[in-house]
């Protein structure tokens, strides 16, 4: 295979990674942007999403597509419910204090991780993709499921944009993000918005996980990589900036995919870490951060 087709293949692989990453990172960014909470347990919500997807897909009789669709609905809802309860039981009681919530979400990380280890076990388990069709390109064959992942991420980003910009709930979230105190003075139940956003953020991570489990296996330690990559993306894009997060996720996903295919995954990680270091040195608030008001 020539360089051009090889680069095209690497780009497709990068886009698949970017698609999952963008959903996970937007969830993290949304939580930080609205609530000012650095959610260290975000990767565990991703892992929980993958494990629940395995449970649902495995226990659903019939065609794998039915199990996958059921997982795509049930897993984000279940993970969102766990996040909602965690918010009401823990974060609310800490009054969303930034330092305290970091420590609390570290604790939550271990609680979720060890609970999954005790119930699901230490094995990595695959989930069948909903379809196996291979698209024959002139140079190579490519999994139609992977293209579906890219398309699904694009549609979901469109939905997120629509909710944020065109719905009453989006307006509530944006108002709360800009000025919590004034939002309260206009009747916005800020704490309910926070709980909702925390659940949505976790649910987005779970959707990313459901999309990836037919490609990578579900495992109780699989939350670490998405957490680190999401933080990388959110730091590069600018904490709380959704546009910046999308841009940085595509950048990191593509560079990760291309460098992994041409060189090695380790080099890809070195380059993304270098990106973060450069951004922190030259633009500490991120590429898309707005000037402080």
């Amino acid at each position: 295979m020539g360089f051009g087709p090889f680069l095209f293949l690497a780009t497709l692989e990068g886009l698949v990674q970017a698609s999952v990453l963008v959903l996970t990172a937007v969830g993290l960014s949304l939580v930080f942007g609205v609530m000012r909470v650095v959610n260290v347990a975000h990767g565990e919500f991703f892992m929980l999403g993958a494990v629940i997807a395995w449970f649902v897909a495995t226990n659903m009789p019939g065609d794998p597509a039915i199990g996958f669709i059921a997982a795509l609905i049930i897993s984000p809802l279940a993970v969102g419910a766990v996040a909602y309860v965690a918010d009401r039981l823990i974060l609310t009681r800490l009054n969303y204090n930034p330092e305290a919530t970091i420590v609390a979400t570290i604790g939550l990380l271990y609680v979720i991780q060890q609970s999954v280890l005790m119930t699901y076990g230490a094995d990595a388990r695959p989930v069948d993709p909903p379809f196996y069709y291979t698209i024959r390109l002139p140079w190579f064959g490519y999994s139609s499921y992977k293209l579906f992942v890219i398309a699904a991420a694009c549609v979901l980003l469109g939905v997120i944009w629509f909710v944020l910009k065109r719905t009453k709930w989006g307006l509530l979230m944006r108002a709360t993000q800009f000025d919590r105190e004034t939002a309260l003075a206009f009747g916005i139940p800020v704490r309910k918005v926070y709980s909702f956003v925390f659940a949505i953020g976790a649910g987005l991570a779970a959707i990313g996980a459901v999309l990836i489990v037919p490609i990578q296996q579900a495992h109780y330690l699989m939350g670490l990589d998405p957490l680190l990559l999401s933080f990388t993306v959110v730091i590069i894009g600018g904490l709380g900036s959704i546009q910046g997060t999308i841009f940085a996720a595509i950048l990191i996903g593509l560079s990760d995919g291309i460098l992994s295919v041409f060189f090695s995954p380790t080099l890809a990680k070195i380059v993304s870490t270098l990106f973060v270091a450069m951004v922190l040195v030259f633009k500490p608030n991120g590429l898309f951060a707005k000037a402080k008001r």
């Binding site: 944006r174 108002a175 000025d179 105190e181 309260l184 003075a185 206009f186 009747g187 916005i188």
Partner: protein, 234 residues
């Protein structure tokens, strides 16, 4: 008859530091009560305590006779208190329309309330899709007041609405405050500028160290400038 706004004995703290002591006011519809005092006297804290943003440890809040003392902060505006915070605090990245929509969240009569609020400030109609942070200072104050009016309040609280404005904008804001008073709204006004207070206020309450030290009718203040020297230093 129940007052539009009645605050009884608010004690408010920032941590261990007491910011309001036995703060009490009573305000009828169609009247303007102005809180005057030096920086740090507790004027802004009083408004924030009424809104529940900094909840008092002790005291009662009554709106049109309804006791709201135990209500969470987000319930208070639903009972008809509009608030124009110090520095306007617009959602500066949102458009004029979106800022007004936030004011409409507590109301089911959205379109009517919006039209009514815009009728006071026709210039905002022309700017309706403009990002609010790009408006002039005067227009931003108009938007802050219009946003509060979208709640259709019986009580309107304004915290230094003329701060940093040109004389023409101050006059426009003053005219709207007078109009709102004449329409029967109870208005609680916090000001530093005495010249902005005299044309609109019915009563002035002087604050110092978190307490109301003296409450006088505006005519008494006009005849007794020593009061201003004592409490405001002008």
């Amino acid at each position: 008859m129940a007052a539009s706004l009645e605050v009884i004995g608010f004690d408010t703290f920032y941590g261990q530091s007491q910011a309001l002591r036995e703060f009490s006011i009573r305000l009828e519809g169609g009247k303007v009560l102005c809180l005057l005092g030096r920086n740090g006297a507790g004027k802004t804290t009083a408004l924030k305590s009424i809104m529940g943003i900094i909840p008092p440890r002790k005291g009662k809040l009554l709106i049109d006779g309804n006791d709201l003392s135990e209500k969470p902060a987000y319930e208070i505006p639903k009972h008809g208190i509009g608030y124009v915070p110090q520095g306007r605090r617009l959602f500066s990245e949102l458009t004029v329309r979106e800022n007004l929509e936030i004011g409409l969240l507590t109301r089911s009569t959205g379109k009517q309330a919006l039209e009514h609020a815009l009728s006071y400030f026709p210039v905002l109609r022309e700017r309706i899709n403009q990002v609010s942070g790009t408006l002039s200072g005067g227009e931003q104050t108009m938007l802050a007041i219009a946003r509060a009016l979208c709640i259709e309040p019986s009580v309107l609280m304004l915290d230094e609405p003329t701060e940093g404005l040109m004389p023409s904008a101050i006059a426009a804001i003053r005219d709207v405050v007078i109009k709102l008073r004449d329409e029967g709204k109870a208005i609680l006004l916090v000001e530093q500028r005495v010249d902005a207070v005299i044309p609109v206020a019915d009563t002035v309450a002087f604050m110092d160290h978190g307490e109301i030290r003296e409450t006088v009718a505006i005519d008494v203040l006009k005849d007794n400038p020593a009061l201003l020297q004592k409490y405001v230093g002008v």
